[in-house]
Amino acid sequence: MTFTPTELEVEGAQGGEAARDNAPPSPPASGRRLARAFLKDRAALACSVYILLVLLMALAAPLIVKLSGWGPYEFDQSAVDPDMAGLPLGAAGGMGAEHWFGVEPGSGRDIFARIVYGARVSMTIALSATVLTSVLGVVFGLTAGYFGGKVDMVVSRVMEFLMAFPALIFMIAVLSALPAENRQFLLVGVISFFGWPYLARIVRGQTMSLKEREFVEAAKASGASSGQIIFKEILPNLASTIIVMTTLAVPGYVGTEAGLSFLGVGVVPPTPSWGQMIASSVPWYAVDPAYFLIPGACLFLLVLSFTVLGDRIRRLAETGGARA
């Protein structure tokens, strides 16, 4: 989320756009061809499978946990060694038929169950934050870009202000000062509050160049109102940008949630989240590496999957599926 082109760059891009306008646009890739190209892309496929798996895990958490036999909050004192500071008994953090991914030191809670429930938190927060930022980003970006002038100035200043803000410091300060109830909503709110300008900025830039395209003028000449032009004429042209940006935003938010939980201002215990699990595993990394590696790997793979997927979708959108 460091893409923060300044105004000048946006202006520069416009100039470039104009020069490139002469080339006939490539035909909008047909959905079926894109799907085919996508299916041929093994990396993208693997990533989608992993994401789906995590999603499924999140949705069916109670069911899965029934199968594995241990709930996410159940203590299992017999699985840890009270004489050794509660270190899990057995190799690899207590992994075995009983506890598939081992247990948490101290409490003996089942790591598998916590991973499964943690996926719920991570996905819910990341996806809701993505939806919220996308809506905010698109609406403000479109409005600012299309109307320009004063509206643009106000929106741009607000965006500049939000982007200038040291969001992390602020999020921690605010979250730690606010009461812990509804922490998940707060997380989504705070993340989105600081997140939308990044999309808005790009949407604004594109809108500014799109509105110079003659089809906007043609619509105007046909009697379209501003709202109709924005939502019926311009918005469809932003679809691929928005899709790409949102897929690329999800991993960012998964990471942010995990980071905030890591810093102790995320979800409230005993609710598990991957970030929280990583945070609590920090002191144990030398004696119980599995405790750190499992949530660490799950998180890394999830972020990687979304990133790769976003990347592939972007490429598909750019090349119209001509090259996979």
Binding site: P28, A218, A219, K220, A221, S222, P236, N237
Partner: protein, 290 residues
């Protein structure tokens, strides 16, 4: 062509200034006068051609007339109504009476919309019913501009430049306008395609009787289509007159310079070619007869 005499559009002393740079608190409000005291008339059924070099203000004039931008000064009267004062229903009515065909067909057609959606957009935006349904209406329009009606669900990028420009014309015709403004409508096209589009425009004008404000910089093309010609230079109109008068006896030095710069195939070559052509035809005819 002359069955509806009288003036459809009357523009007087149009001025348009743009703010260049500026913005912000300390921006210098330098103003650029893109159109400077332009007056012109378009009569019913005629084609007025507006020519001049790049950046002289042709497009801006057109956009003023189509009320796509607001004037800085001057009046525009269309069919007896003051264009600048139109609002609501009247504006919608005006929007259906004046339509614009743009230079770059791809840029002026929304790449994410199908032909059907593009062509019916003016009716939709003006909240008017589509006679006979969108599909049938689009089909009919496409046929009229020489496109295959089966292609109504295609996207602009799936058409060639000339075909795409026809979609633009079809859109303009969808509301049965009284005037079409063609802003460099053929400049981006290959010679042969250019000819097709011009022929199409001319034919449609004959059939429908709309007036046309035809903007171009290619004088040879202009000569083919214009009834009258207005020459612009530096935001002003330097000369207006009937086509033949402007081309044969240009008054303004700028017009003369423009005419002189037009590259031409040597007339003697053309003459020779025509002779050869005629001879060949004759020969062919003979062969055929034989």
């Amino acid at each position: 062509m002359t069955d509806a005499p009288g003036t459809l559009l009357r523009a007087r002393n149009l001025v348009k200034e743009f703010d260049v740079r500026g913005g912000g608190l300390f921006g210098r409000s330098a103003r650029l006068r893109a159109v400077d005291d332009v007056s012109l008339d378009v009569r019913r059924g005629e084609t007025l051609a507006l020519v001049g070099e790049s950046g002289c203000g042709k497009s801006t004039t057109a956009r003023l007339i189509a009320r796509l931008v607001d004037t800085t000064a001057g009046t525009i009267e269309f069919d007896g109504r003051e264009v600048q004062a139109l609002t609501g229903k009247d504006l919608h009515a005006f929007r259906s009476e004046v339509q614009v065909v743009f230079q770059d067909p791809y840029s002026s057609l929304n790449p994410k919309h199908t032909v059907e959606r593009i062509v019916t957009a003016p009716l939709v935006y003006q909240r008017r019913p589509i006679p006979g349904g969108a599909r049938a209406y689009t089909g009919a329009l496409m046929e009229r501009v020489g496109l295959d009606p089966d292609h109504s669900t295609r996207f602009p990028a799936q058409f060639s430049g000339g075909q795409a420009q026809r979609i633009g014309i079809a859109r303009a015709l969808a509301v049965a306008p009284k005037m079409i403004i063609a802003d460099e409508a053929v400049s981006a096209l290959d010679v042969s395609v250019q000819a097709q589009v011009i022929n199409l425009l001319r034919r449609l004008q004959d059939e429908e009787g709309f007036s046309c404000l035809f903007i171009a910089h290619d004088l040879a093309v202009v000569r083919q289509i214009a009834t009258r010609v207005a020459v612009m230079n530096g935001g002003r109109i330097v000369e207006t007159g009937d086509r033949d008068q402007v081309f044969d006896t240009p008054k303004d030095p700028y017009t003369r310079k423009l005419l002189a710069a037009v590259p031409r195939i040597r007339p003697e070559w053309d003459a020779a070619r025509r002779r050869n052509e005629a001879a060949r035809r004759a020969r062919e005819q003979e062969d055929a007869q034989r």
